[in-house]
């Protein structure tokens, strides 16, 4: 079902944990749909993501996309982090099954939510960042259904 990369990130997730007094924290998803992701960002004064951690309740793909998303944004400026799309996460994982594409969207949203929190805390506006949707599941790709 999952690619080797997904399985690797699921079995050995990078950056699991919390950051105390994080610069920004974002939580997305809901228990009803079976996945919740929380991203903690530690952003330095140059708006570089110095550290990132995550916690995820969800399926294998949810864990793996969280892990990969944290890897992709780590060390980046907040503006570059904003450009990390769900497609980038999926590609970095060598793909996801169609039913699991929503996990990658969730990961993207979790990063955005954490950045939004950072922006709000600091009273700044990040160009191109919109307020995260509370429930991203609407965008879900549906398997062909009969």
């Amino acid at each position: 079902m999952y690619t080797e990369k997904v399985m690797d990130h699921f079995q050995h997730p990078r950056n699991v944990g919390e950051i105390e007094n994080a610069s920004g924290v974002g939580t997305v998803g809901n228990a009803k749909c079976g996945d919740i992701m929380r991203i903690f960002l530690d952003i330095d004064e140059n708006q570089i993501i110095r550290d990132v951690k995550f916690k995820t309740f969800g399926c294998g793909a949810a864990v793996a996309t969280s892990s990969m998303a944290t890897e992709l944004v780590k060390g980046k400026s907040i503006y570059d982090a904003l450009k990390v799309t769900n497609k980038a996460v999926m590609e970095a994982l060598d793909g996801l099954p169609p039913v699991k594409v929503h996990c990658s969207l969730l990961a993207e949203e979790a990063i955005h939510a954490a950045l939004w929190d950072y922006a709000e805390k600091n009273g700044i506006k990040i160009e191109g960042l919109e307020k995260p949707k509370s429930d991203i599941h609407e965008d879900e790709e549906e398997e062909e259904e009969y």
């Binding site: 939580t27 228990a31 996945d35």
Partner: protein
């Protein structure tokens, strides 16, 4: 992989070697079409009818009340749709439950689209249908009551005899999906007033792709699959002779081994349940503690999600399931767990382990130790657990 523990015997079972052995000659030697005139093939008709006798014997039924199908799903579809068709001008109301297998639920929903009305009964927190609810749901236009014999996810055995009695007294046809129960617990169609019963071969160490529908003599449903005159004109299609022979053998075997097998399974299962509930916090057992299939354990581990749990167990050589196998890949939590009142996030974190008679105590110990570690690990990365702990510590 050093360890391999197949704990998903409710999804499917290993075909027993004696079953395969019984089937083999019907592929390359006795391959005749039972409907043919010549003696080479007529022998196969006899072989098919012998299996019918074995199966009927296991249910207290008559051989000509057993109709072979391609599995439990077809049997369920047949029972519901053909009853609706045959008795539709008598009434258009059907009673079933919220915890049926999708083979029943989706057939019922199909019938709703055809203009039938379906009542989906609630169950109690252990997954039991209340007979009084059945009685209360009956209307003058009720033509069928369909309640599963035992649930495939949480293992709860339903009060079939009481429900059958109610149906019988009101003159309403009674169908039961016994796909999980048949072969695990004794069933008698007369004592339980069952008019139709579905079963499937691969759940009782028989082959996949074969099952049957018991139809009580006098129940006037017609074919669901139309064509040739097989199965006394009620189910068309060249008979799956090897499959039927395998099913017969599996039933014979299940009846023969039932007592010893289920005794062993019950003991091991109870040991497993005991240790898990004791040693893993924030865990609950789903399904009735007593009225329960001998090989079924179903847990909910709070704060974690089932698929992750399954994959981690898989990496340790343990095959389990979360919700029913048929719906894996879907995003919905099990309708059965929701029906017994579990909130979504707890329903998501459920694990079904279904045993077979080959396990020993050491295997259960391995399962418990592995589970403890994985659950701890997954909780450590769960935002739900984090929130819960923070609240606790406040």
């Amino acid at each position: 992989m050093d360890k391999f523990l197949y704990l998903d015997n409710a999804a499917t079972t290993k075909t027993a070697p004696e079953v395969v052995e019984a089937m083999i000659p019907y592929f390359t030697e006795n391959y005749g079409n039972p409907s043919s005139v010549y003696s080479f093939a007529a022998k196969n008709k006899d072989a098919v009818n012998r299996q019918r006798e074995i199966i009927a014997g296991a249910l207290g039924a008559a051989p000509n009340e057993i109709y072979f199908t391609a599995g439990g799903t077809e049997a369920d579809n047949w029972a519901l749709k053909a009853t609706a068709e045959a008795y539709g001008n008598k009434g258009r109301h059907i009673i079933t439950t919220k915890i049926e297998h999708h083979a029943i639920l989706h057939s019922a929903q199909y019938l709703e689209r055809q203009g039938f009305e379906v009542t989906y009964l609630d169950v109690d927190e252990n997954g039991k249908v209340r007979p009084e609810d059945v009685e209360a749901a009956i209307r003058p236009d009720t033509i069928l009551i369909s309640v599963m014999y035992a649930n495939n996810e949480i293992g709860t055995i339903e009060p079939i005899q009481e429900i059958g009695k109610i149906a019988h007294e009101k003159g309403i046809l009674f169908h039961t999906d016994a796909v999980q129960a048949f072969g695990q617990i004794p069933i008698n169609v007369d004592e339980c007033h069952i008019d139709m019963l579905s079963a499937s071969g691969h759940k009782l160490n028989g082959p996949k792709g074969i099952g049957f529908l018991y139809i009580r003599k006098g129940v006037k449903i017609r074919s669901f699959i139309h064509g040739g005159a097989q199965e006394r004109r009620r189910r068309a299609g060249t008979e799956n002779v090897p499959g039927i022979v395998g099913l017969g053998k599996a039933v014979e075997r299940a009846v023969r081994t039932m007592e010893e097998r289920t005794k062993k399974e019950r003991e091991l299962r109870d040991y497993l349940i005991g240790r898990v509930l004791e040693e893993i916090p924030y865990t609950r057992l789903n399904g009735d503690r007593e009225q329960r299939l001998p090989n079924n354990a179903n847990f909910s581990f709070r704060f974690i999600e089932g698929e992750s749990l399954l994959i981690m167990l898989d990496m340790k050589g343990i095959c389990g399931s979360s919700g029913s196998a048929c719906t894996s890949g879907s995003l919905d939590p099990s309708h059965v767990l929701l029906a017994i009142g579990l909130p979504h996030e707890i329903a998501h974190g459920s694990l079904r382990l279904t045993l077979n008679e080959e396990f020993e105590k050491e295997d259960m110990d391995y399962v418990v130790e592995t589970l403890k570690e994985i659950v701890k690990n997954l909780r450590s990365m769960s935002p739900l657990y984090e929130d819960f702990m923070k609240k606790q510590n406040r």
